[in-house]
Subunit: 211 residues, 2 copies
């Protein structure tokens, strides 16, 4: 259940930039991996493990903004930091609207990049933790039978067993049995816990985000 070591993925077509940034990141203890093109990165990046992406805006084949959109469309949204030589205001605004952590113009200070990477990895950690939690909940939900799901609905809606029974056209007795199994399968010790778990699934908050 340990969270995997986060990785900083660097994508820049300039080999010397890749090298020097990788050296910088490794020097302060991050795990870094470099790619020369978006394709190369997208082919190699699969899992939703925590990390972040440092992306040059101008790339061969696919612009950095397109890479960002591609990632956002998928399951796992890796936080992105843009770096660019000739950034424009519209490009930076689009990047930030798309959820980028930062948008740095070259040359930038090492400190600026490192702070952005810190922030990005922090976001990634939160996302990862949240996803782990929701996955666990969903896994439990998946073990419920159709009937049990219906009963769960009623319980978290605050209905009485009797009411649920009428709605499902069965007896209160039966509801009790299903209800007991729901509590067991969902690992809930009380209705309060059950409600909280389901609420969590329905309105996923971004975790305990400061502010």
């Amino acid at each position: 259940m340990r969270a995997p070591e986060p990785t900083v993925y660097l994508v820049d077509d300039d080999a010397s930039v890749c090298r020097s940034l990788a050296r910088l990141l490794k020097a302060v203890g991050y795990r870094a991996q470099t790619f020369r093109s978006p394709d190369e990165f997208l082919r190699n990046y699969r899992d939703g493990s925590p990390g972040c992406l440092v992306l040059d805006l101008h790339l061969p084949g696919m612009s950095g903004l397109e890479v960002q959109e591609t990632l956002a469309g998928g399951e796992q949204s890796l936080p992105v930091i843009f770096i660019t030589g000739h950034g424009t205001v519209p490009a930076s605004v689009r990047a930030m609207k798309g959820g980028a952590v930062d948008f740095l113009s070259k040359p930038f200070l090492a400190k600026e990049l490192l702070e952005a990477v810190d922030e990005a990895l922090e976001r990634s950690r939160r996302q990862y933790a949240l996803r782990q939690e929701l996955d666990a909940l969903r896994e439990r939900l998946d073990t419920l039978t159709h009937r049990e799901c219906q009963v769960l609905e009623g319980v978290v809606a605050g209905k009485l067993n009797k009411q649920i029974a009428v709605e499902l056209g069965t007896s209160e007795k039966t509801i009790k049995v299903h209800r007991g199994r729901v509590m067991e399968k969902m690992h809930a010790d009380s209705v309060a816990e059950l409600v909280r778990a389901i609420e969590r699934l329905r309105r996923p908050t971004s975790g305990a985000k400061p502010q």
Copy 2:
């Protein structure tokens, strides 16, 4: 309980810009109000009613970014749209990091501004609705006595009356009485509802945000 009419607040030291933008906004049906300086705006803007702020980045006395920070520090966070003649990448990034809806460089198309205003007012509406809801909940919470609060804690933690009684060093009987009053004062018909209400207060989500 009707939400007040949202207002677009325009702050620009150029009178002709104020006039023309106000005309544009009013032409499509928005309520607009213009200010020539941040001070003038801040002196006149009080309540947390829905609306948004269209702000020139370069302003007499106080930069647009400072106005944004001032607003963010207060209770009500009015969504901000920046407009500027000579925007820089760092300024736009800072603005967007600060939660700005958009950052437009003059000259911009009317359509761009109107789309940004739409988005900003939508955010404002959500914020407003959320705040109304939370205020109502907090108002109810405030009517609870200290003891009732303690019992509420126990109930939403999923504890049995008996357990709560032991923890508070009193009898189950008494807990039942307090519990009944808590449900009544909080306007909750079931434990599920009560838990949801308290969860809402503890982890305020940004409402039913699409995506």
